[in-house]
Symmetry: C2
Subunit: 368 residues, 2 copies
């Protein structure tokens, strides 16, 4: 499978005018090799040059991983002293003849650490952004990938249901987040979660990217839970919003609006339509209800091995949806200093429309 993926990359290098790509540890490297490397203070780089045996530069203490490589690779290893590292990168670049070439990189993934070492071996090369080329390799999920995502959704949903039962007024956000993580693992998530869950109550729920705090849940709070699981390296990313006891009428109203926007956004996705349409469908509902200015982010992002990847559901993104693409639909309304709502599902484009992998109740539920 991974050999086929390497061939796919080689083919798209040709088509996109790149001579090579340089990858550091992250989803693309794992997608191409099946191996996990740590992102650490020692640089690890995987180099694929068109039509050549790929090369890996890595610390000696990671050498055992090379044996697990699914195809032959050239290995350039270095010891513990950083002064030796550059030489290993220079040898690798030389062996692949990289200098002066077009070497694609992933700016969202590659650190200056790895980049400067790669550049020391190929100082006259160009380093264009190859995120699109590399992202498109992973863009259309195959059956096996979708099955893993489906299981990641299932694990997340049962973990949520188990967690809801323990929610009480007076519980700190952090405490609830820890309980949710415990349940995610108990229900079968891999220990490396896609992201640390967001558990935000009351005014904190009006911050779409809040980290859990020591704030205790109070009656009248909205409670936003944004969480996900990892199964076989694939992730889920869901959000539901709860009412802690009785909440203001306007909070119930914005939840209704967001839920309708979520429904509209989910309905809009199908093969042949641009990502923009998904965003517009969800946004129209919120704007129609007069809350447009409080929906401060795009409607969704792609998911797969990462919690944020292509395709992005933005009003200006004309990228066309195709079967196998997977993304979130997550409209929200955030009333600054007051409370916020978000409802998020995980979608996969099918041959004729799209399917929501998630189905845990979207209605506002009362907890505490």
């Amino acid at each position: 499978m991974t050999t086929a993926r390497l061939e796919k990359l080689n083919a798209s290098l040709g088509a996109s005018g790149l001579d090579a790509v340089a990858l550091n540890p992250g989803p693309t490297l794992t997608y191409l090799t099946g191996l996990h490397f740590h992102l650490m203070e020692r640089p690890v780089v995987f180099l694929v040059a068109r039509g050549q045996t790929p090369a890996v530069v890595l610390p000696e203490l990671e050498m055992l991983k090379v044996e697990e490589m699914p195809y032959p690779v050239q290995v350039f290893s270095y010891g513990e002293n950083p002064s030796e590292w550059e030489a290993a990168f220079r040898k690798a670049a030389q062996s692949l003849g990289l200098d002066g070439k077009r070497i694609g990189v992933e700016p969202r993934q590659m650190r200056l650490l790895e980049f400067r070492y790669v550049k020391s071996g190929a100082p006259e090369a160009d380093y264009p952004d190859a995120s699109d080329v590399l992202g498109s390799l992973r863009l259309r999920k195959d059956k096996q990938e979708i099955e893993a995502m489906r299981r990641a959704v299932r694990v997340a949903q049962s973990a949520l249901e188990a967690t809801i039962q323990s929610i009480k007024i007076g519980m700190a956000e952090k405490q609830l987040a820890a309980e949710l993580v415990t349940q995610l693992l108990k229900h079968g998530s891999e220990p490396e979660l896609p992201f640390s869950p967001i558990v935000s109550g009351g005014p904190n729920s009006a911050n779409p990217h809040a980290s859990p705090t020591e704030r205790k849940l109070q009656a009248g709070d909205l409670l936003v839970i944004d969480w996900g699981a990892t199964v076989d390296g694939y992730i889920s990313d869901l959000t539901r919003t709860f009412a802690v006891g009785q909440v203001e009428a306007e909070y119930e109203k914005i939840h209704r609006v967001v839920q309708e926007a979520n429904t509209a956004g989910r309905a809009a996705g199908k093969p042949g339509v641009p990502c923009a349409d998904v965003d517009k469908a969800a946004r129209a509902v919120i704007e129609g209800a007069g809350y447009g200015q409080y929906f401060t982010h795009r409607t969704g992002h792609g998911i797969g091995m990462e919690a944020h990847e292509e395709p992005y559901m933005r009003g200006d993104n004309m990228q066309i949806l195709e079967p196998g693409m997977a993304y979130t639909v997550e409209p929200g309304i955030y009333l600054p200093g007051r409370n916020g709502v978000r409802v998020e599902d995980n979608m996969v484009v099918t041959e004729t429309g799209s399917e929501s992998l998630s189905d845990v109740p979207r209605e506002i539920r009362v907890v505490g």
Copy 2:
């Protein structure tokens, strides 16, 4: 506290010939602001130029965090469309007069994503590696920081003791790792663990950086567990090695050797001696026993907000230990294709010597 840290940075900028630093989300940004930002596809950069009001460039949906800043900052925000982002960075660089200046960066932390945006605002600037300057800010831990690390060790140790009881022959490494993470959270770790625990049995234990697999524990295995907790943003990072039932005599022997090396390494650390001495003391024991070639990594690394930071316990590192520095002592012996051992503790340099924050039994214990 964080205002004092900003002043400390301003002072060391002057001393190190830097005009400014550019930081992306990570420990140094958190150390200086007390705030956590996500590392995501939208670039967030914190810019500190000597003697000026610091600037932050961030997406509009992160604006609420700006209110939590402990001191005044200039804010440059951007919307969802990536084509607008560069302008925000250009404005920030202009306001601070960054072009042509020396702007320190952290190559281990900064991605090409943020770097290219910063550079678009200051194309003629130099971007030297400021890891040492920035790392040294965090190098000597104060009482409050050490107290947090002490609690992170305590949480990790009680989580391990709770986990040990459930270890059984036939249990998969992944299953054991999930149980350990559950116990870490139950015992009080923050959900964002310092790293995903390493749980490696049998031949996998001979790989110092193994990820947990589906392999089931067998009688005769050595079992390496490398784990840690997070408390108030500070971490612990420990390793213990167990015997699953009865193990070969040589495995008991290499455990004895590693444990002695750990003791020697812990004893070597005190104010005024170079980091190299800690490495040499541990390595001498392993070399003396004839296993030198199987101790394939340095003896330790600094810890604090990160699992790997300065100072590094390498044989060639002449950096002098000072009170408040914190690091691991983690010698190991890895017999390729067979089994491996590592014993790791967390040390803090005191006024007169050094103290091990960890004290969970180091002896080989039989499980399963």
